[in-house]
Amino acid sequence: MRYDVAIIGAGADGLAAAALLARAGRRVVLLERAPQAGGRCVTSEFVPGFLVSPYADTVPSPPAPLLPLLGLTHLLEDFAPVGADIMRRRGRALARVLEAALAPAPQSLWQRLKATLFVQDERPWPGADWADQSIAALRAHAGQNDWRTALAGRAIDPELNGSAMALFAAPQSRVRRGGVGAAGAALQAAALKAGAELRLEAEVAEILLLRSGAGGVLLADGTRLEAEAVISTLDFKRTFLALFRWSDLPPGVLRAAGAWRMSQGRARLLLALAAPPGFSKPIFVSAGEEALSQFRHGVPPSAPAMLVDPVSARDPSLAPDGGAVVTLTLSGIPPRLFDGDWTQEKRETLLARALERLAPLKLPRLVGAATVLPADVEQALGLSGGDLDGGELAPDQMLSFRPGARTAVPGLYLAGPSSAAGPLGLGVAGLTAALALMADLSARSGR
């Protein structure tokens, strides 16, 4: 059986790309390693009766005009008041990314390489004047809570020049009801309704490289699926370093993928409480002085920054009657410790320390708790280093310095969080890759 497009990963990006391509009449197969689709957009029961979205309570807001395409109309609401300046810059960045996707594909290998090795176009990217600013310097610019939400779950020093880039990824939306899993379900429904085929528990082991470029995928169980084109929603590193024989790739791509830096350092502590807490709005707890240094040296933080979000206060469907769900998003958690992995004992210490710092909030009795560490995210979602941003949000890794949708391998398109559209909204990278692919396919058939 031959498909037009094979999409690796049925997260938001994969589902969005599948919906768009299948609606355009392409034969699409979605390959997902996990037993359910949705990627980070899942909500599950972590303590009997208590539901939570383990990876994130919020998603990066997609631009309003794209919501109907994604099947997310009326589902999302904006979370933090966002500075108009940030939204304007994001809008301009998105326009640039879409423009690049719809432009004719570069033909020569050099042009393709250049598209992969950053700098998609020669014009300055929107935001260049922010490149060497710090969040601290832009506090007045950003909305009241922007800079704090930009920091939640990231190991970024707000005083350092360049940290302002995190504001591009800051605007957040949350799902009105049902946790972010509802958004995942809506995206999945849109993809299936459009006619895409979804294969769960189908792990891709290799991208088949024919003379003309990517020609399909090889699954871990040995199945060979042929396709005209492949969209990878994995991050930049994993796409090139894990799914190819390195000798087959142009050396520039390997070098770029190797030098790509992952960061973030987010951990989530999920608490099931016997009664609602005494607050209904998120509370930000600042980091201790040593937090960033501990992150760099791989030491469990003694006083990490935390965003305490009583999610069930806004969305009562998550907790049983009388109960409550509170999530803590911790910043600056090293993915690996200097002395090895996060053992069960260290996880418990992390939880105990966090609860200790929350003592002034007088939380009700704990019914159950779970920890989600970068290693868990890496294992569950396949993101290198558990980085939901797909790479450190540094100025040399943002906007046009992120890899574009087209890659140096003809027929392989990069969606996923590492791509230029990654930080600009949920599913936007998938749509961008699908648009670039359709533009290339129609150009080829027209010739």
Binding site: E122, D157, G162, E289, L292, S293, A394, D396
Partner: protein, 447 residues
């Protein structure tokens, strides 16, 4: 009618150079210095400007070198000293002890660094470009060349080529010059500037003149009128700089003024008290005089020793300096100015320590001397005098300062008032080049 064509404030190397060149060009110049003699720069000269030396025939007037070219010797806590000779092949041989891959990467890295540095110098020397860092992003050639690298931190820049943390840490030392953390965008440019200076030096990258001979030679050739012991209290401003007022009440008129003072101080003298963000981290010097009989290691006579840290420790040292604390480990470089005199340069020193410099300098110097105990045993007991020169409160530079062309760096908000001091140099150094440029701009304005 003006009594003088130009007034130069401060007999620093830059000030003396500017006065000498203007006077040589036929202008009537007055040099004012607060102290009774020109202050001699302590420590090594970074890339003394060859054009200056040649045009003013300094070597015929007493400029002499103890060491025309200092090599680099890497010291760290764990291993033997590592000598990096200027020739790439010798350095590669020395590096093979650390890592084969790094030894192989050394020569291409140096070639690439030099090519970039050459391009950067062209950008700096373009006299008509008065723009800011934004101009770099808008200029096609510069953008293609620098947009990506300039936004990188030095650590990421070096990690693309090298794997050994010791080598990366040692090379990062040279990127600290601009008062930036090695993670900040622009610190990679500081590295390029060091390379550019190394190529532009009259002798080697780092030269050691005979004590006093630079100022002496410049003073000998300086055809300007000189007044020592007179402090400037005001820069008179008419339509542009119009003269100075001295502490004794004298006013002297001139058509142009060149100042060796920092930007904020110069503009304050001209009546422009704009609150500018100053750098929190700067370069401090510790001058050590030894008692007779202490034998310095022979390698130190011909080399600049760099006491480097591991990459993650630089970030800690920077954070500590920013907070006004004493860092756990200080990066240092060390030059033997004579058999009994050592000059220590600490690039990550707090500009405003919590305790204030008078109270802070003793523990600071003690920490620096303590960190040398392994390489210079018995040093603490052999000291006869210790002087600490605190960092200057320079304006917070960042990328805008590092990428600005010479005119933008030298110009102030007052017409015909130029800087030739530390802030007119891209990274701190004593080269006299800023003085030559200021003289050039002044001469053009006087015509």
């Amino acid at each position: 009618m003006s009594r003088y064509d130009a007034i130069v404030i401060g007999a620093s190397v830059g000030g003396l150079a500017a006065a000498a060149l203007l006077a040589k060009g036929g202008a009537r110049v007055l040099l004012l210095e607060k102290r009774l003699a020109p202050p001699e720069p302590a420590g090594p000269l970074f890339a003394l400007d060859p054009v200056l030396v040649k045009r003013l025939k300094l070597q015929a007037h007493g400029l002499a070198f103890r060491r025309p070219a200092l090599g680099t010797m890497l010291w760290d806590d764990e291993d033997e000293a590592l000598l990096l000779p200027p020739q790439a092949r010798g350095a590669a041989r020395a590096l093979a002890r650390l890592s084969r891959a790094d030894a192989e990467a050394w020569e291409p890295f140096q070639t690439d660094l030099k090519a970039r540095a050459r391009a950067l110098r062209r950008w700096w020397f373009r006299p008509q470009a008065a723009g800011s860092a934004d101009a770099v992003f808008w200029s096609q050639g510069a953008r293609r060349r620098f947009a990506h690298d300039s936004l990188m931190g030095a650590e990421a820049f070096l990690a693309r080529d090298f794997e050994s943390p010791r080598l990366i840490g040692a090379l990062m030392h040279d990127a600290l010059g601009g008062g930036l953390s090695p993670a900040e965008p622009g610190s990679a440019v500081a590295l390029l500037w060091r390379a550019a200076q190394a190529m532009a030096g009259v002798q080697g990258a780092v030269a050691l003149a005979l004590p006093g001979s630079v100022s002496m030679a410049l003073k000998a050739v300086c055809g300007a009128d000189m007044r020592f012991g007179d402090a400037v209290t005001e820069v008179l401003v008419g339509r542009g700089a119009a003269g100075v007022r001295l502490a004794d009440g004298d006013t002297i008129e001139a058509r142009a003024v060149i100042s060796s003072l920092p930007r904020a101080k110069t503009e304050a003298l001209a009546g422009l008290a704009r609150p500018a963000a100053t750098r929190q981290v700067g370069e401090a010097q510790i001058l050590l005089t030894l008692e007779d009989g202490y034998a310095l290691p022979p390698l130190l006579q011909a080399n600049r020793a760099v006491l480097s840290l591991l990459p993650a420790d630089y970030a800690d040292a920077f954070e500590a300096a920013r907070a006004g604390r004493l860092a756990r480990a200080l990066p240092l470089s060390l030059v033997a100015e004579g058999p009994l005199r050592l000059v220590l340069t600490a690039p990550l020193a707090p500009v405003a320590p919590q305790a204030g410099w008078p109270a802070f300098q003793a523990p600071f110097a003690a920490a620096a001397i303590q960190s040398l105990r392994r390489h210079l045993p018995g040093l603490a007991g052999a000291l006869s005098a210790v002087t600490v020169v605190p960092p200057k409160p320079l304006a917070r530079g960042g990328l805008a300062h590092l990428l600005a062309p010479a005119l933008a760096r030298a110009a102030t908000s007052v017409e015909r008032l130029w800087l030739c001091g530390p802030e007119a140099e891209p990274v701190p150094c004593v080269s006299g080049r800023a003085g030559r440029f200021a003289a050039q701009f002044a001469a053009r304005a006087l015509r």
